[in-house]
Every structure is written in structure tokens, then in C-alpha cells.
Amino acid sequence: MMAGIILACSIVLLLQFFVSYCRSLIAVSSKQVLSPEVKDVTGIQRTASADDFKRVMQLLQLCPERPEDRNGVQAIGAYFSLLSFLRSTLARIVPSMRAWAESERGQCAYFAAVALERRISFSREMLAEQMDS
């Protein structure tokens, strides 16, 4: 009984902390302006839409990984999946949730584009170091 209550509380709190944590990660990147080059590659001009996410993630996987970004990208990937699940289930009953989930998914795509920008500049730095040596 006690373990059941603890489990239920933990899962509810886990969801709440996880959503807030992901939104804090997104908030850090939302202030960053994308370079024209990344805008061209990703097709994101001002605001990103949810449809961009998959494409940007594919581009991200083509670039060498930065260890300090891995955590954020994985967390946002999981958050995007959670939002997609909500959109196809609960949001059908609650229409306001649909708009919210859609805007959140768009912000996830923007986060991925910012991570792509960082990875591109990281790859350039690595290449420049190799050329120098």
C-alpha cells in the first residue's frame, strides 16, 4: 500500500520535474539567434515548427557529438516524444492542449537547431586544430 502511494507520487512528480527541466533547457537556447547558414540548412527562418524536429535531429546525427550536449539533446528528444504522445491522445479531448503541445514541439525543434549550430562550430574548431597541427 505504502509502496504503491510512493510509486504514484514519484511518477507524478517525475513528470512534473522532467517537463520543467526540459523547458529550462529550451529557455536557455531560445535566446540564441541562429546563423543564416543554419537557417538555410534547417529551413527554420524565425520560429520553428514541430515538423522541423525530425529533420534537424537527422542533421544533428551527421555531426560529431559534443559530450556536454548529449544530455540536453536526449532529454529534449524524450520530451518531444512525450508531447507527441499527449498530442495524439489527451489533446484530442482537450483542444487547448493541442495548441500548447504544438508550440512546445516547435520549441524542441528550435533547441535542436541551436544544438546543430554548436556542433557545426565544434566540428570547424576541430578541423582548424587538425590543420594547424
Binding site: G4, I6, F18, Y21, L25, E68
Partner: protein, 232 residues
Amino acid sequence: MLGPYEYAVWLICSLLEVAVLVCAFKKDALRRYLFLNVNTAASLVISIARYNILSHYGFTSKEYLYFYFYSDALLTITLYFALVSLYSLVFAELKAARYVRLGTVVLLSGTALFSYAVVQQSSARLVTHFVVELSQNLYFVGLVLTYVLWAAVLKMRETRMRLIQLILSMGVYFSLFAANFAMQNLYHMRGSFFEYLTPLFGCFLPMSWAYTFWRVPEEARLAPSRLAVVPR
């Protein structure tokens, strides 16, 4: 016996702990978040000591078993103090440090007494069971305390981005472990896929702390109402 997966996760976790300390040192956060760094350093030292004991005595030895559970309790207590240090940072302006310290000691003693009361009637190996029970209860107390702290952050409109991320990452960590303990108690799931998942949970905290120290500057600010699940 441990397999390559467990060794790999162990190594990754230890490397991440080194990364936390290096990032904190480089970004001038070593002293400001002292208890967080003490917890990370303790975890790293214990990780190395566990490896030594494991290679000397073996996975099924009593030495390893005792060391594992006692060091785990020690780490949970240091993590509890790390959480309390975040309370001190949030409530610093209210000059409530004395009350926070008092509350910490009372709650820790209360949890220890409760754990003792639970194991006292049903256990022959009292001390060992007490240590295990204390660890589990402290995880749940930690989760509740983190939730209260998060509520205080929202109420007081705390804007320090780094502090907010550290609190949220602790919330995710504590809730993962509390859910895991509860699930194991409910279903007695040994040998299931949760056994593979549990070591990965341990990597979350150092990974998120390293990320926060490295990527979020101390001066970064954010309106916490933007992060609440229910819009405020």
C-alpha cells in the same frame, strides 16, 4: 558477477563525475556549490573504492555487500546535505539559514528514527537493514523536499537559471530513484530490465550538473513561471 554493460556504465558515471568537478572548477562554481561538489567527489572516491573491493573480494562477498550499502547510505546523506545547501541559496536573502539548518537536522533524525522503528521488529541484522531502510526513506524525503523547494522557487520568483536547473535535475533524480525503490518493493523485480535501467539513473545527476555548470552562466536569469507545467 558484473558484465560489460555494468562496467561501462560505472566507467561513464565516474568520468561524468570528474567532468562535474572540472566544469565547476573552470566555471568558478566550486565554492558556491560546495556541497554538490563534495557529494560528487565523495561519489567518485567511493566508486573507485568499490571497484578495488570488488576486484579483491568479488561481487558476492560480504565485504563488497557491506561496503556497498554503507557507502550508499553515506552518499545519500551527502546528497541530502547538497539539497539543503540549495535551500540555503534560495532562502539566503530571507536570512533563514539557521532555521534551514535546524529543520535539516530534525528531518534527518526523524527519518533515521522512523527507519530504525521499521527495521527494529523484523530484522536480525539490525544495522545493515537500518542502513538500507535509511537510504530508501531519505530518497523519498529528498523528493518531497525538492518539490517543496521548487514550489518556493515559483512562489518567490527565483530567477537564477543555474540554481533552477540544479533543483530540477535533483527533482528528476530523486523521483526516478523513489519510483524505482517503490517498484522493487511492490513487485520484487530482480533480474528484470529495471536492473539494467537503475545504473543509468545514477548517471543522470552528474550529467545534468556538468551540463549546467558548463553551459549556464551564474548570471543567467529566467522567469520561473515559464517553466511551470501549469501556466501561472
